[in-house]
Amino acid sequence: MGVWVSFFAVIVLIVIPWVGAQGAGQYLFGIVIPYVAVLVFILGFVYRATKWAKTPVPFKIPTTGGQMKSLPWIKSNPLDNPSNNAGVIARMALEVLAFRSLFRNSKLELREGPKLDYASNKWLWIAALAFHYTFLVVFIRHFRLFMEPVPGFVGLLESVDGFMEVGLPRLMMSSLILLLAALYLFLRRVAVPQLRYISLAADYFPLFLIIGLVSSGILMRYFIRVDITSVKELIMGLVSFRPTVPEGIGVIFFIHLFLLSVLIAYFPFSKLMHAGGVFFSPTRNLPNDNRVKRHINPWNYPVKVHTYSEYEDDFREKMKEVGLPVEKE
């Protein structure tokens, strides 16, 4: 059910600007909605992140993935079992930049016997890396529209990205890989029975949204051309807070911009917040140094315990019988 609901939701999201971005409607889709979306994104992101940050971490519970730092002659694993903040930074960097935990992924196979096999399974890791990094590249390439003069690194990135020199304008590999990766992430969700079983509308919706976003971008660049100078004028107007809508920008641009607006406004209230959340994860962002440095639980409270003297009161005679020392005779 979730897959269809999400699919049609995105179709509707495409139809809305298609119909609406005419005449004065262009002010709504070109100026008002993007501003609102950015505002919602910023406020929402800050709200969610602050909520996490304000929630206490009562216990230091890193998941240890390697040998702890103990006796000096025992080789420890500072990356998977950090004993200090430097180690934590390295561990987090690998997690965030290289998806290290996902790299461990394996696939289980049950054979006759029974015999269990754990084959290495890097597809999800590769697709996830491809998806996130190409998204970043595409994002940076858009700086061409945000900045005047265009920074040098954008041109450099474009020449690397378009090194295949296919098509006119040149095909950017990043867009294609991004689209393929998003399609892969979608296909595995419907093709793997367990994944299909756990998937919610909230899992399909952002994928369709991104597929729509990337597709409209590709369409605009290669097939349904829009006047890029006017587009830049509009965007520069937005970023310099002197918004204007030049004449003659094709509707495909407004579809693209609207899908982006929906995506960023949806971001803080969805699973996409994993991007911020991963930094707060107490199983990853804490050193395994409890035995060296006491971790304080801010809401630690006194509890009722069974004291030694209560214990001795219960068992004194029996203790004396076998010669166990007692406090009170």
Binding site: R48, I61, Q67, L102, L124, Q194, L195, H274, V303
Partner: protein, 563 residues
């Protein structure tokens, strides 16, 4: 004991999920997959809510009228108190990397045993009861309301998770199902829904100091009995001390080790090691009050964990010791490593642990003041302080099971292996994806090691057993060693069912075999009282030699006569 099919039957596992959405499938309490309900008398001992006679098989669980309110209020409170819980409710993307990492999913194929779905059981309530989107859009936003059936479902599946954290290792955001299960169990406990196998030990531990309810005089005589056994084997009678003020070290180990085989052999190993070291300056006492290393409170709630854990530092302070040595135990070390010195400020009277034998300062425990027996022993071996004869363990071909808690809640891999290297001659590791940080649970941890749960236990045991089978087939491994008291009990059941030719032992049992005590008699048997296979041969040889000698003498006599 619940009926369990044959291994062949059990291994026919269907991984295909049902047609219906998981939200539409009510819980079905299948035989051998749930544990008996907690008893009113145990609730009374520690003041757990809602003491009553009930069974999870009953229609009516006798919950208070406002049960929903209590549950949701408890959930709200915990969302504010635990960043882990709030975050793990928020950020899962359902990528599925955790799905086939869980031993219970691998062994049962039940999709609600995929860590992601186990957490979604609670996450869906979070969305449905606490988030705007979930409240409005309901199922479409992955939300659902808390109902009686949903509550029962939570009970069923949170007591089908051993909090082993294997899934959290593979999660790209470190989402830890153990955290979710722990909080989930806390919520169930607010309404008095725990299992007998946990509340029983909790009540015992609170009153008598240990899970098994061993009273001080009995504890004392059980250890005395071990000493007599040791005397029979070695000719030497160790004399451990109890509750002794002024000792330098307090030793705390799980009570399982003094109660049942094969843990008892590990306890004998400890006693022998301490006896050996007395001559070198060890001044150590046991305690009948702090007579439990494990902590079934940890499987109940954070508060109960703290209440039961109190004894360790309290007893160390009362006796005036300088530091604590902890025995071989898994979840004990998770609590001791990650919780104890947050629960309690270590008493000022304790000092940074220093081995009285080698002078090694255990700087990595300088705040916490407690060291693991394996690091203590590894340091002794490293300094050449132990006189060892590994050949006494030659009948054993050994492998090592990392217990979940020392693996993923501590990172304690090399110390026990170093000890093993020095006390056995035949050692073989299981496959990489089943050991160290990727180790598989015994299938019975976190208080689920009870007989009525046997079907699920043997299913959960499959991945571990399969790895044991692998080294058994390839290297004739016949001994599965470990550093966990629950493992010593549960792996024995596991091997009996899946790999019958393999026995289970603690590391310090093997140390006890190898350790040469001063003035001991010639050893003819291991700590289990099993005669070494070469003893008979040697005896035969001796008899033959003696016979030869007699024959020689006779021949010589004859020759003399002839002369």
């Amino acid at each position: 004991m619940a009926k369990v099919g044959s291994p062949e039957e059990l291994a026919r596992i269907d991984y295909s999920p049902p047609k219906k959405s998981w939200m539409d499938i009510p819980p079905e309490f299948r035989e051998g997959r749930w544990c008996y309900g907690s008893k009113a008398k145990d609730h009374a001992v520690v003041g757990l809510p809602n003491p009553r006679a009930w069974s999870p098989a009953d229609e009516d669980w006798k919950l208070p009228d406002n049960w929903k309110e209590i549950f949701l209020e408890g959930m709200r409170e915990r969302l504010h108190k635990y960043r882990s819980f709030q975050l793990f409710m928020d950020i899962c993307v359902r990528c599925g990397a955790c799905a086939d990492k869980c031993h219970f999913f691998i062994g049962s194929g039940d999709p609600k045993n995929m860590p992601v779905l186990r957490a979604e059981l609670l996450r869906s309530i979070y969305r449905g009861e606490f988030t705007t989107a979930g409240k409005i859009m309901g199922k479409l936003a992955g939300g659902r309301k808390l109902t009686y059936d949903v509550f029962k479902e939570l009970f069923y599946y949170f007591f089908q998770c051993t909090e082993c954290r294997r899934c959290s290792l593979f999660c790209p955001y470190g989402i830890d199902t153990a955290e979710v299960t722990m909080i989930g169990r806390e919520l169930l406990n607010l309404l008095g829904c725990n299992i007998d196998w946990i509340t029983g030990p909790v009540a015992n531990c609170y009153r008598t100091g240990n899970h098994l309810g061993i009273q001080p005089h009995a504890y004392h005589s059980m250890l005395e009995f071990f000493c007599e056994e040791i005397e029979e084997i070695t000719g030497i009678l160790p004399e451990p001390s109890f509750n002794r003020k002024g000792a330098e070290i307090l030793f705390i180990t799980p009570s399982g080790d003094v109660f049942a085989d094969p843990g008892t052999f590990t306890a004998m190993g400890y006693i022998m090691l301490f006896h050996y070291l007395e001559g070198l300056g060890l001044d150590l006492t046991w305690s009948t009050y702090a007579s439990e290393g494990g902590n079934f409170g940890f499987f109940t709630s954070h508060e109960m964990a703290k209440r039961l854990n109190a004894k360790m530092y309290a007893e160390a302070e009362r006796l005036g010791v300088k530091f604590i040595i902890g025995g071989e135990c898994g979840h004990m070390w998770r609590v001791c490593n990650q919780y104890m010195d947050t629960f309690w400020e270590p008493p000022k009277s304790l000092e940074t642990p220093v081995s009285p034998i080698t002078g090694t300062r255990f700087e990595h425990a300088k705040e916490h003041k407690m060291i693991h027996i394996c690091e203590f022993t590894a340091d002794l071996i490293k300094h050449g302080k132990l006189n060892l004869d590994p050949s006494r363990n030659d009948p054993y071909r050994v492998t090592f099971h990392d217990s979940c808690n020392t693996a993923r809640g501590m990172g304690f891999f090399e110390e026990p292996r170093y000890v093993l290297e020095n006390i056995v001659n035949h050692f073989h590791e299981m496959p990489e994806s089943t050991i160290r940080e990727q180790t598989f649970c015994c299938g019975s941890g976190s208080g689920l090691n009870t007989d009525e749960f046997m079907d699920m236990r043997m299913r959960g045991a499959l991945p571990r057993a399969n790895a044991v089978q692998y080294v058994h087939d390839r290297h004739d491994v016949n001994l599965l060693s470990c550093i966990c008291a629950i493992d010593r009990a549960t792996l024995t059941t596991l091997t009996e069912y899946w790999v019958p030719d393999v026995e289970v032992s603690g590391v310090h049992e093997l140390l006890g075999n190898a350790l040469i005590l001063e003035g001991e008699k010639k050893r003819t048997m291991n700590l289990r009282g099993e005669e070494f296979p070469w003893v008979e041969e040697e005896e035969e040889e001796e008899v033959e030699e003696a016979a030869e000698e007699v024959a020689d003498e006779e021949a010589a006599g004859k020759a003399e006569g002839e002369e």
